[in-house]
């Protein structure tokens, strides 16, 4: 009986907290190693673009109203938190699909959630420095009435997580690399241009504002802005609930797609 067991492949059940943590650590190292210098480069680019945006917007006005500066300065952190997870991540996965490493990564004996959380950690590490620098530059340039509260921690964590999960779902649910690229570019355009992240929702046409209520980007801006400013924050609870729903739904889609057998 024992000889039959020995002849087969190892069938030890791989689960449990220790296995999960091991998988998380390994995948975190994997992601960091595969990005290597790129991560530092990306952080640098993000800092430059964040600071550029904060300073550049002043040129559109003469002089820039404080409310505009405040909106842009508290919206740029959201963009910083989304850049890697939402905009770059899907493109990385698309190129993995083309060069074949995607299938290899999928067959690694690591739990899907450990891999996803390791990637989330990378996006957070890549996004937070730019966010801090952008805010510091904004404060120095415009002397904004910023009011940092402890809510910054859940706001940043949830914003980055939701963005990363949306990107994760786009990356894994769309099988074609070109479709992934197209959707990613549309999302990028949506965040920068047609979502009330860098400007108030009242400056949008009404229908676009309503549409944005159902999308996560406006809610991210509400959550992050509430933690950086004082004053009433209507819709904050709704924003957190909406973000949680978006994150859960996208994580579920990714889990389903990744769990399917080919």
């Amino acid at each position: 009986m024992s000889s039959v067991v020995d002849a087969g492949p190892p069938t030890e059940v791989r689960r449990g907290a220790a296995h999960w943590a091991g998988g998380y650590g390994a995948m975190l190292r994997w992601h960091l190693a595969s990005l290597r210098l790129w991560l530092a480069f990306l952080v640098g680019i993000q800092i430059l673009s964040g600071v550029g945006f904060v300073l550049g917007i002043a040129l559109f006005f003469k002089p820039i109203p404080v409310s505009v500066a405040l909106f842009v300065s508290t919206g740029v952190p959201v963009v910083n938190l989304l850049t890697i997870g939402l905009m770059l991540g899907p493109q990385l996965v698309a190129s993995q699909k083309i060069d074949g490493s995607y299938d290899y990564l999928r067959c690694l004996p690591v739990s899907r959630s450990a891999n996803a959380l390791a990637w989330y950690t990378v996006t957070l590490v890549g996004g937070v420095p730019a966010m801090v620098v952008s805010l510091a530059v904004a404060q120095a340039r415009y002397h904004l009435p910023l009011h940092l509260s402890a809510m910054i921690v859940p706001a940043v964590l949830l914003t980055c997580f939701t963005g990363t999960m949306v990107g994760y779902a786009v990356a894994h649910a769309l099988s074609k690399a070109t479709a992934t690229r197209l959707v990613t570019q549309l999302l990028t355009f949506a965040v920068f241009s047609f979502a009330p992240v860098l400007y108030p929702v009242r400056q949008l046409p009404r229908w676009l504002g309503t549409l944005n209520w159902w999308l996560p980007f406006r809610q991210m801006a509400v959550a992050v802005r509430a933690s950086l400013t004082s004053g009433p924050n209507p819709g904050l609870v709704t924003a957190y609930i909406a973000l949680a729903i978006w994150a859960t739904a996208c994580a579920a889609v990714s889990a389903l797609v990744l769990g399917r057998r080919e």
Binding site: S49, G56, I57, L59, F60, K62, V72, F189, F194, Q203
Partner: protein, 264 residues
Amino acid sequence: MTTSAAASPPGIVQLRSGVSYWAASFGVMLRFEFGRARESAALTVIVQTFMGAGMALTYGFFYPHVTPTVALYVTTGTPTLALIPLGFVMVPGVIGEQKIEGTFDYIWSLPVPRSAQAASTFLLYTLLALPGTLLALLVATWRYGVHLEISPLVVPAVLLCAVTAVTVGFAMALAIANPLTTNLVTNAVIFVVLLFSPIVYPISHLPGWLSETHRILPFYNMAVAMRAGLTRGLVTHAATSFLVLAAWAVAACLSTAWVIGRRR
């Protein structure tokens, strides 16, 4: 004459030069370029229209109150916003792709003058630039309800801006050997153009050193030339801008000539 040609020893080929040979080569290369662009032409026009019109709408969202002046500046800046991505991003991108996949070397190896090749590329992209630019302007005019006073000057303005954008983009792609560097430069250009160039706002908003820089760079001058053709009284020194743009186009052509004139 025919006998002497027939009697010439093998290996000596007829000299391929002269105006008629150049014109014939240009025609052939034009067919070649248009044939290659057939698939992507529609997409190029669509992307360019969306870029231009999308940016025109976006800038409006950033202003708490879109005053008539802001609306006029944004609307008349839109054609420039539509042209710049085509010339400074798409053209270098296409050349970069050609370099990576080897088509670039193949085209250079064809028995036609390289100047005819470059000229056909310029013509193709200048023509491709026009519909998207016009559509983006129409969208912006409709959105902001601006009344434009279009003068005949708009024709040379659009053509000169398109030629400048395409030739400078092409020269940049040729002068920089590594496509990755080109990619980085084009992205930096877009960022600078979208935020730090006085295209949709007056140049007086800029600090002195930046406005001086922009009087030399092509982006602001493109906006001035376009605005001169679309409005009356808003632009005073349009001739200077036309001259600066022409200088950029000539410099780009010279740089292109220098790069393609070298043997590898």
